[in-house]
Symmetry: C2
Subunit: 197 residues, 2 copies
DNA sequence: CGAGCGCTTGATTGAGTTCAAAAATCGTGG
DNA sequence: CCACGATTTTTGAACTCAATCAAGCGCTCG
């Protein structure tokens, strides 16, 4: 059943009953998407938040030279989207792609409003998500400002323990703001250190 | 009159009448603070958003070595605070200091609630502020990931046109994630270029 | 008026980049 | 299921941007 994970997730964070959940998601859009599928294009308005019930997404942007910069990864149970674009109804700066074959639940404003009417914890929870997101990206700014490549990598492993195995290294390098070559070397150095201990 | 700027600002963004504004701010906390005053300490819960009606604030953090990293500046008509700390009632990672003698209006949750009851545009406006903030810090991440010292400096000048003259250079360097020496050199290079044109 | 802070400048160092090429891994069609 | 081409990762060498260290200048404010 496609909504199993989404239901578990929602009921874990709100008090939505089975009945209400079923009613709410009767016409919800769920898609099984192949690797490399694009869910959001730069220049489009981002009308959805994407709940990842299976798989792995990335949110990234391009600079003037066409180089990719990964802003965020979203594995299972993460919700990703461009809230500013949605809120202001403006073109997004970002792309969202599938890194693995994934199963995605599309959450739009309407759904959140409907859900919030049923259970006001729902609105609260989405607010919490928003504030978590802010905390997270602020932390990221501090890290980009003050941490070395090695420190950033260790923080990354801490945040996304299994992603090192699921995402290609060049994407992770991009997230960390270093080249794939540098990441490769950082990993080599760390392996050396750990071997010695 | 101490609330003049705050009133102008609020009425520019909401439909609050004079009467309502006066009622709302009858007991509001406004402080005239000297340069170097600290408005928020790392480890404290941030209970206020600070509206700068005059002066200049900075929000910054320290790394393990005690080095400062400026996350944000707030000149006149900006509102600054640590929303995550306020929202989650958690210790803040940040300090907020006055860079100049300033006049600060203290905005707490209660005030926003009261104001939102009077005029629901108020809540909307604070939501807009929040989303603007998110957009801004996401943009900042992109920039830290992909721009050189020179590009970052030019972006900074664009965002805060007059701050180059008001804030010490070493703080701006900290905001840009470079050393004061590097900033000095970047500026020299840029001056050279402009002179040649 | 002097001590200290902030800015500049120079010399040196170093972390990370770039370029190049080899090695490993992945994925797709036969 | 294998093989071949493409992509990804690793490694090496040279290079670059910005950091660090150090010295000197100028301003301000106590």
């Amino acid at each position: 059943m496609p909504l199993e994970n989404f239901k578990r997730y929602i009921q874990h964070h709100t008090q939505l009953s089975d009945t209400h959940f079923n009613e709410l998601t009767r016409n919800i859009r769920v898609e099984v998407v192949k690797k490399h599928t694009r869910l959001l294009n730069q220049g489009e308005v981002c009308r959805f938040s994407f709940f990842v019930s299976k798989g792995l997404l990335r949110l990234y942007t391009l600079d003037q030279q066409g180089k990719e910069f990964v802003i965020q990864f979203a594995p299972e149970d993460w919700i990703v989207g461009d809230r500013s674009s949605a809120y202001f109804n403006q073109a997004s700066d970002y792309f969202i792609d599938c890194i693995e074959d994934s199963e995605i639940v599309f959450i739009d404003k309407q759904l959140i409003d409907k859900a919030s009417d049923i259970d006001k914890n729902f609105r609260t929870y989405f607010d919490t998500l928003l504030h978590n997101h802010i905390r997270h990206i602020q932390k990221r700014i501090s890290f980009l400002l003050c941490a070395t490549a090695e420190q950033r990598y260790m923080e990354f492993v801490n945040l996304y323990p299994d992603l090192m195995l699921r995402a290609p290294q060049w994407m992770i390098a991009s997230y960390l703001g270093i080249t794939p070559e540098s990441l490769s070397r950082v990993r080599k150095e760390l392996a050396k250190k750990h071997f010695k201990l």
